[in-house]
Amino acid sequence: MPFAQALWESLVGDSPLVLPVLFLWLTGTLMLWPLDSWLLKRMPKERWSFITAVILIVTCWFVINAPNAIGFADMFRVDGVTKGFQIICIGAGVFTTALGHKQFDALKEHTAEYYALILFSISGMLLLVGATDLVSMFFALELMSLCIYILVGYLRTQERSVEAGIKYFLLGAFSSGILLFGISLLFAATGGTTTNLERLGQAIALAPGNHDLLVFSGVLMVLIGFAFKVAAVPFHMWSPDVYEGAPTPVTAFLSMAPKAAALAAFLRVFGAGFHSVSENWIAPLSFIAAASMILGNIAALRQQSIKRMLAYSSIAHVGYMLLGILSMDTQAGTQAVWFYMTTYLFMQAGAFAVVIHLQGVEEGERIEDFRGLGKRHPLLAFAMMVFMLSLAGIPPLLGFFSKFYLFRLAIIEGFVTLTVIALLTSVIAAYYYLNVVAQMYFKEPDEKELGRMGICTSTVVTVCSAVLLVGTAFGPWIMKWVGKIL
């Protein structure tokens, strides 16, 4: 059996590259069976979130120690970029576990499945950020998305959760159909020889003239598929509804982890793979970036629900990050996007922690619920102010620094019009972020008692606000360090 033996040897030889993923699959499966039926009788359910957090931290250790190499027939690559984005995804998973702890451990059934699905979707993300082949990229993307469809519709007794789940599923499946057709057209343009990003890039650059249409439509469809996944205008229609309807911890997860993973794949596909045919996608991608910044920020102005407002603001932030993908200097673009995404992770996690805490006492869904929080709970209000000001990009906070770095890169690369649009829309954005701050400090409070904050939520809030407050002081060192590892 020489074939089977060769297959086995190559799989075993490359397995250290995907050790974190294998670990997640193993532990996730064990959580579903036998641990769920066996442990449930013996231990309080609150342990599930603790177990998940431990698993994720061990995975993080595996990620850091993975060897830098390419494996699986050039389909998967581990390098600084892969590790950097993998750590963001795992971090988002840890935050989500801490935030969902109260709501999901209180469920009567199916607690273990929730955490297992988070682990499985993170394993998809870990594969996605390292994928260097359109095939592995597509299936990793689907592994990630399929788990998230279930998570969004998880509370199936709540009408809005089911509705959000089905909306996300139908549009997500539609977009992956477009993405797959785009991949098949590019495969056709190479004459059916390769889907590896590097070779594909060379092949389509050299493709004969009559293949122009094939390459153009293929690249465009892949672009549309990705724009759907990161929720960029005009393919963003699902995002506000899904953000509002999903259970709030899942909304937090949705706004951090899949975005980071899809942006990393975006960087690999367009930065590395389609670099040679950039004249085909620079104009559409610039349009998508500008439209996301403008529409995301303007639509956020008139939102009453804070979850919807954060959804539109995340559309706008994706617009900013697309500036980094447009950059022709792939390495600098990657560093800027990675740094922005890391900052964004802390801002979103913190903001959602506050929203979830307020939701626990049946408010916090609407922006008006923040009225007078400055008097009722000064520390929490201060933390929320830090997150809002950082999202708006006000100077002493880390959010300003990452925005500055990204915009500076865009100017160096010559995208002056886009940078001007980005700056103007940031000014608009300040209005709705500051509106929340104004509600907290300048409006009279309702006479209502706030519940006590759980240890998990308060840790998340403290860590995130501390990072955002002192991060800028270490800015130059952070950038030097990022430059070394990515």
């Binding site: 095939v135 959000a164 139908l170 499946a173």
Partner: protein
């Protein structure tokens, strides 16, 4: 031997039917079927061009896509059933709780 342009034409026609179906039809189950059409349009391209170049990678990709389609349908149908239990309808126009 069928020419490659014919293959591309057929797969594009199938893909367009799928896209139009998703955009026009309002029944969640039929939308799901139309998504399957889109995936199969891509499969035709993958298989035909893999055969054209004499390699197997594209054919393996198509097999995996079929597996994926099955997984997607499993989740989609589960969500549709959950929706039907909740609202007694599978028309996407009737799910309008979230908007703005």
């Amino acid at each position: 031997m069928v020419s490659m342009n014919t293959v591309l034409f057929i797969s594009f026609a199938l893909f367009s039917i799928g896209v139009l179906g998703v955009l026009i039809r309002r029944n969640a189950l039929i939308i799901l079927m139309c998504v399957e059409l889109m995936l199969n349009a891509a499969n035709i391209n993958l298989i035909a061009f893999a055969r054209h170049s004499g390699t197997v990678a594209g054919q393996a990709f198509a097999l995996l896509v079929m597996g994926l389609a099955a997984a997607e349908v499993a989740i989609g149908l589960a969500l549709v059933v959950a929706l039907y239990r909740k609202k007694d309808t599978v028309q996407v126009d009737d799910i309008n709780l979230l908007k703005g």
